[in-house]
């Protein structure tokens, strides 16, 4: 549509470009700034004298002889054993994503293929569960977990996160499976497959786009969780986010803030990569619920 009436005036174009540039600046600058600052000493990162120090790294130059230093990273990863938290996060995320996708696909598939009215009620209950803030559930977990000695270990947290993940996973996979034509598995059933065989041989090969999108969101939930992990994990089993929060408690001594800054940048990096590679899936996942409803 390159009609003349569609063309914008220069003023409007300028306004639009200016606005988008401003938004990009707001969205990206904090991350770039913190990334840059994480290679400086605290006196540069929080500069009282002159804000340009944070860019040029004057104090860092004085201390280390060059404008960049990995001291924050060294302190966080080695001295404060952030690597342990990184391993814990990896374990939690891998297990949460795998488990919740496995049981979620089975459940979501069943919901999409059963025509009875109870499927609607199950979905409605899942929606109610999805709305519950996780922190309100945590106070229900603590007493039984203390009683049965389950508190503080990774498996408990993984199971809890899988459960909290389920309502969302079910809704998402349910809508994906509904888009896969019913004739596909019905014809397999006619050919003599059981329902599970039909699922195994016909549905599984075509379901991956939906499953990958759902998996991304499960990953994000497990990776970003603070309320559950900080309450259910003992200090030595902490994942990255609660670990960063615990750095903040000890910010008094100099240098510790930089540990937290380095840890924050380290924890953001995987998310950057994730968005870079899976941008399309994330966007389609976000809109899947909206366009349907």
């Amino acid at each position: 549509m390159s009609v003349k009436a569609q063309r914008r005036s220069t003023g409007l174009s300028l306004f639009i470009y200016g606005f988008i540039a401003l938004w990009l600046f707001l969205a990206a600058f904090p991350f770039l700034w913190t990334l840059w600052g994480s290679f400086k000493v605290e006196l540069d990162f929080f500069s009282i004298a002159d804000w340009t120090n944070a860019i040029t790294g004057e104090r860092t130059q004085e201390v280390y002889g060059r404008p960049f230093t990995g001291a924050g990273y060294e302190g966080a990863w080695i001295k404060e054993e952030f690597w342990r938290a990184a391993i814990n996060t990896t374990l939690v995320c891998v297990f949460v994503v795998c488990t919740s996708l496995t049981i979620g696909t089975l459940g979501g598939y069943a919901l999409s293929r059963s025509g009875y009215r109870y499927t609607f009620w199950l979905l409605l209950i899942a929606l109610i569960f999805r709305a519950m803030p996780p922190i309100t559930l945590v106070s229900g977990y603590l007493l039984p977990f203390f009683e049965w000695n389950l508190w503080g270990i990774l498996p408990t947290t993984i199971v809890v996160l899988v459960a909290i993940n389920q309502p969302f996973t079910l809704w998402m996979l349910h809508s994906f499976f509904q888009k896969i034509p019913k004739d596909l598995d019905e014809s397999a059933r006619v050919d003599g497959c059981t329902q599970f065989q039909a699922f195994r041989h016909v549905i599984i090969p075509v379901m991956w786009p939906g499953v990958i999108t759902t998996g991304l969101f499960s990953f994000l939930l497990a990776y970003n969780d603070f309320a559950v992990t900080s309450m259910l994990l003992a200090k030595e089993n902490q994942t990255m986010v609660p670990k960063i929060a615990s750095f903040l408690g000890t910010t008094q001594t100099e240098g510790n803030v930089m540990f937290a800054v380095a840890a924050v940048v380290s924890a953001t990096a995987p998310l950057f990569v994730l968005v870079m590679f899976f941008q399309r899936q994330i966007v389609s996942g976000l809109t899947a619920g909206a366009v349907k409803g």
């Binding site: 606005f19 598939y109 069943a110 366009v291 409803g293």
Partner: protein, 341 residues
């Protein structure tokens, strides 16, 4: 699908949700009616060479036994709900009687933890939600008119504030607005006040948290609206143009009505999500000036004391709040479903 097959397919996920969502809710509700046992106190007469003395002692064995026998604690009914830390009915009626006007009453309410938290939570929810919708819509309109090579890049950077862990995102902003950080010192320079600190005043802290909330959630609205703009009916837009509609009129009378269902969707989702605001308060270290319902629960649960009953009561009250916000969503889902069948 047969009932039996459905049952086996659905069992694992149903079990997970039942054990770790439904049961904890029941457990939280139960817990909120109980309070930990008091220590058992026994009076012992101690006779020595200087005569007999009566001593009050904590009977450790009996206390442990009692706690073992009834781990939930002592049943107190609704007592925790009405105490000062929660609904504070006694303090409320006292404040109502003593206060000179509405303004005074509200400021008295601010001293009660639950009402203070409720005040911030509601302000946050009902300010952030409309603001993020407006910002998201403007970004969507802007990006939609960009050249297509630029779109991917803009979408990539726009997603970041939403994808990044809330605690981490708020920390990053917190360091920047620190009075020694770049935004903090820029604001000091603009205001011409070298002592200006966003952290020190309640009003500024609230604004800071709300700005964070909009920054964090606007990308979601943007992505949803942007997807909606792709399905914009071209003929309607063209006929509007032929009828001489200005650009503003096109947006007002064609684009916005088309997007409206998505606006409702985003608003409903975001109302629920903003109501549970929690991480930014920890990240911005703002609990002295702003607390939310979720933060109260977190605060009760944390630390050495672990006030489980108090946290459970706050949880029940929060769940009631969420249910109120959830009801329009449920009605909508119900209507959709009945239309389909």
């Amino acid at each position: 699908m047969k009932h039996k097959t459905f049952f086996w397919f659905f069992l694992p996920t149903a079990l997970a949700m039942f054990l770790f969502i439904a049961m904890p809710i029941v457990s939280v509700v139960l817990q909120s009616f109980y309070t930990p046992h008091d220590a058992v106190i026994s009076i012992v007469e101690n006779c020595g060479p200087f005569g007999c003395k009566q001593e009050t002692m904590i009977d450790q064995a009996a206390t442990a036994e009692l706690r073992e026998a009834e781990p939930l604690g002592k049943f107190v009914g609704l007592q925790i709900y009405v105490d000062r830390g929660h609904l504070a009915l006694a303090e409320l009626s006292q404040a109502w009687g003593a206060s000179s006007g509405l303004r005074d009453f509200v400021s008295r309410l601010g001293n009660l933890p639950l009402y203070r938290a409720l005040g911030f939570t509601l302000t946050y929810t009902f300010l952030v939600t409309p603001l993020l919708i407006i910002l998201g819509f403007m970004i969507a309109l802007g990006v939609n008119s960009l050249h297509r090579h630029l779109k991917g890049l803009v979408i990539f950077f726009s997603l970041l504030p939403m994808i990044v862990t809330p605690l981490i995102g708020s920390l990053i902003l917190f360091w920047m607005i620190d009075s020694r950080g770049i935004v903090g010192s820029a604001l000091q320079w603009i205001a011409g006040d070298p002592d200006l600190s966003l952290k020190a005043s309640t009003g500024l802290t609230w604004i800071m948290l709300i700005v964070y909330g909009v920054w964090h959630a606007a990308p979601f609205a943007f992505v949803v609206f942007y997807a909606g703009l792709q399905t914009l009916p071209k003929d309607t837009l063209e006929s509007a143009m032929i009828d001489g509609a200005t650009r503003w009129q096109q947006t007002r009378y064609v684009v916005i009505p088309h997007i409206m269902p998505l606006v409702t969707f985003v608003a409903l989702i975001q109302l629920m999500d903003n109501f549970r605001v929690f991480e930014p308060i920890v990240g911005f270290n703002a609990s002295a000036h702003a607390t939310s319902l979720s933060w109260i629960i977190f605060n009760d649960l944390g630390g050495e004391t672990r006030l489980l009953s108090s946290a459970a009561t706050s949880s029940v009250l929060t769940i009631i709040g969420v249910s109120i916000l959830l009801s329009p969503v449920l009605v909508r889902t119900w209507r959709d479903f009945n239309q389909k069948t």
